[in-house]
């Protein structure tokens, strides 16, 4: 089941909406697709919308951190937007502070910050 998660181009940024029922395989496949897309287009930033995500574990946390690392190497900033309070608390409790990613309240905020770069 590939392609559940959509990657859309908004301005010069890639918008990725992660679904709540995303599987580990899908998220790895997404990582692959996303890296290719960033390399092919002139991309300033990647916006990961995780507002649908209700549960996180260390695996998802690590993949998000890796996505940020990959984009950075390909000269794009990663923004995580719409994180739910419970998800934030869980990540902090897992000790995953994700210092390498940028965060924003919503898509609008992230786009505004990207425009400033």
């Amino acid at each position: 089941m590939a392609g559940v998660t959509s990657i859309n181009l908004v301005e010069h940024a890639l918008l990725v909406s992660i679904q709540d029922d995303i599987t580990d395989t899908e998220i790895l496949e997404l990582q692959d697709r996303l890296s290719n897309k960033i390399a092919q287009n002139r991309i300033d930033g990647v916006i990961l919308d995780i507002s649908a995500l209700e549960i996180v574990d260390t695996f998802v946390g690590r993949v998000i951190a890796q996505l940020a690392g990959i984009s950075k190497l390909l000269a794009a900033e990663t923004y995580v937007v719409g994180m739910r309070p419970t998800v934030a608390v869980t990540l902090v409790e897992l000790g995953m502070y994700l210092p390498e990613i940028r965060t924003a309240l919503s898509l609008t905020h992230a786009l505004a910050q990207l425009r400033e770069i």
Binding site: P85, V89, L91, T103, S106
Partner: protein, 292 residues
């Protein structure tokens, strides 16, 4: 002759002179100094005693098999219900546990007197009855105390809950600027409450900057610092900026001595500077009016 049930005499006494027992019970309470006329009117006390004694007699009539009884039994439902009411009332008005126990135990005297009169000079019968009454009233008193303590614990629980809520207010200072004035000690339970409350409010108000003010926090040890930094990290993950303000020189020194690294979290000494920085972030400046 049919063997008499163990409670027969006690019930006879209760049935023949119900009113008299209540009056004497009240009298004993006065003598023992546990009748709080300052808290309850005579009519109220009499009413409480009447209800209790009625329920107690009902319990004895139905809930004693042979010489055994168990106040947790269904048969004692009435007594437990009345007792719960009376205890609640008394706890709320500030009656002490001793007064509460003595109040119930005072019931023994009037019962003993009447049993003695009934027994005439049959001492073995009197002894048996007195022993049973003692056991019943003692169990009654112990149960009362238990309910009394339960009531108090509930009050304490409720107050703790209220304090927890009161002590973690998240205030909207300006559009998209929140502040969280922390006061007192920050233990794990409170830190958790604070964090959840804060993150929820960020979501609701779409806040961009949060000022956590620790002016009112007495001491900052590694534990407290850890809680603060975790909250700050969670705030950042939500996409808002976190400023910790109110760090006194004393606290700054302690934090450095403890080797606490705040990382990328901004810190300010006063809420004043934190506020002007926060407003700047969301695009406002505080300006003096020309006239002044």
């Amino acid at each position: 002759m049919m063997p008499q049930s163990a409670t027969a005499n006690i019930l006879t006494v209760l049935d023949t002179d119900f009113k008299g027992i209540i009056e004497e019970w009240l009298g004993t309470q006065v003598k023992e100094g546990v009748k709080r006329s300052d808290l309850f009117s005579d009519a109220e006390s009499r009413n409480q005693n009447r209800e209790l004694l009625k329920a107690f007699s009902k319990g004895i009539r139905e809930g004693v098999a042979g010489e055994d009884f168990d106040l947790d039994d269904d048969k004692w439902d009435d007594l437990r219900a009345v007792l719960a009411d009376v205890s609640r009332e008394r706890v709320n008005r500030g009656v002490t546990p001793t007064e509460m126990a003595t109040f119930v135990l005072a019931l023994k005297t009037p019962l003993f007197k009447r049993l003695e009169a009934l027994a005439d000079s049959d001492h073995s019968m009197l002894l048996r009855d007195v022993m049973l009454v003692t056991r019943l009233v003692d169990a009654f008193a112990i149960y009362t105390n238990e309910i009394f303590i339960n009531e108090r614990e509930q009050i304490i629980d409720r107050q703790r809950q209220e304090m927890l809520e009161l002590s973690t207010p998240v205030v909207e200072l300006w559009d998209r600027v929140l502040t969280l004035p922390l006061i007192g000690t920050l233990d794990s339970a409170r830190a958790q409450e604070v964090m959840e409350n804060l993150l929820q409010t960020i979501l609701e108000r779409q806040a961009e900057v949060v000022i956590m003010d620790i002016t009112g926090v007495g001491t900052v040890d590694t534990q407290v610092a850890q809680h603060l930094l975790r909250a700050a990290a969670a705030v950042r993950l939500m996409g808002a900026e976190c400023i910790i303000s109110g760090i006194s020189p004393m606290i700054a020194q302690t934090m450095v001595q403890l080797g606490i690294d705040v990382g990328t979290v901004s810190t300010r000494s006063s809420i004043r500077t934190a506020l002007s920085d926060a407003l700047l972030t969301v695009g406002y400046v505080i300006k003096k009016t020309e006239a002044q």
